[in-house]
Amino acid sequence: MTPRQDRSVPLRWIVSGSSVALLFAAWYLVTGPLGLVSSLKFPAPLDAYDSLIRLIRSPGYADGILAQHILSSTELVLIGFLLATATGVPLGLLMGRNRLVDGYVNPVFQLIRPIAPIAWIPLTILWFGLGMGAKLFVIWLAAFAPAVINTYTGVRNIDTIVIQAARVHGASSKEMLFDVVIPGALPSIFTGLRTSLQACWMVLVAAELVGSFVGLGHIMIIASRDLDSGMILVAMICVALLGVLMSAGLTYVERYAIPWRR
């Protein structure tokens, strides 16, 4: 810490704070007193606040209160993400450790992977309908590929000397997997899970926008039909905040799982 940096800390907060304040002031002026932007294009801050209150109190909006929508969306992302982790990480480990499996699975993987997970949405609706099943499937699909690839890369990048050393010291294959390979690949696995989680949110919102009965994306469809820009903004902010919260949760798990990298 040089003295120069010490002095710049309060300056930093002043600049950041005034930039955010300026944005809010501009938002207020442009949508309110100046009347430059109609509420059909973007809501005034107070409109957004009213929408938020309307959404929180029963009967809520779009067939449920905010808590129900959040619960539904979060549940889908979490289950889909956990399913993808539970299937993708073991497959990645297997592909990383066994060349035959790698040779067998990898080409199929490379064949399907370029198709954007979002592009599966119409087909999954055709297969499973508009309910939970279709959404879980696309979320799983979106999160699966990053989980597999990063686990695989993590295993492949472990120093061969470490593996050989473990073998020389008589590690059983179980010890090799749990004490050498998995810990060695963990940082890369978590990088993959972070990408997976982001993909989950993106695909969930898309799937809910295409068709759903509940959830934050459902609020957005109903609100755009009602031309309620305040409600759309509220739903967008909720999606963003939930994404931040979940990624913070993952960071917490990562710290716990990889204590040596803290």
Partner: protein
Amino acid sequence: MVAGIRGAMPVLGIATFFGAWTLATSLKLAPPTFLPSPLAVLHSMVELTQIPYAGSTLQQHLMASLEKFGISFAAAVLLGVPFGLIMGRSNLMKWALSPLFEGFRFVPPIAWVPFAIFWFGTGFLAPTLVIFAGAFAPCVINSYRGAQLIERHLIEASQTLGAGRWRTFTEILLPAALTHIVAGVRVGAGFGWQSLIGAELIVGSTGLGYMIVQAGSNLQPAIVISGMITIGIAGASIDYLMRAIQHGVRRKWAH
């Protein structure tokens, strides 16, 4: 012998995939309204290039998607790269802009669809905002990192030699950060393409995303899968092009 088995595995893998697909459809395990056979998909793909579906032929849908992608991806690169470079070189700009950028970054691009409809209507331009939202952030972040990693003495040397702000920017900053920038642009292209498809599923009247969502609601899985394959090939080609540019830049500029 072992090497032979290893060499045969990829062929076996692909064969299993298509074999299982064909078997499932020919044994009627999956009805054709659910999963068409690979041949039926191929047939519908060829047919789509001649007979218009949902208003256009397959190649017209592809061109419509690529056009939207091109417009907003170019906008995202042209705005995102300078934005990131400026944030990387000036603390004041970084402090002022980063809270706004961080807030923007956490909104999934697809969540911009409702506002895209409000601002641009349901026509051709509606998905452009969404693509822009997908491609902008990676361009900014990588340019920012690239600009931060530039050695200070390079900039000081150029300034001593009398280069103004603009020349420092175009002749020192941009080339030195180029490998980082191109990496970000490549990630941005991937996100942008995904976001485009997502946006077209929801709004619009042309494009591959529109085509597959129409075919989905008309219960025509062969057309859906043809569209998905086209999306995959186009996405892979965009990434291939980006990778070629990345290699070219790396060869020319890496020291």
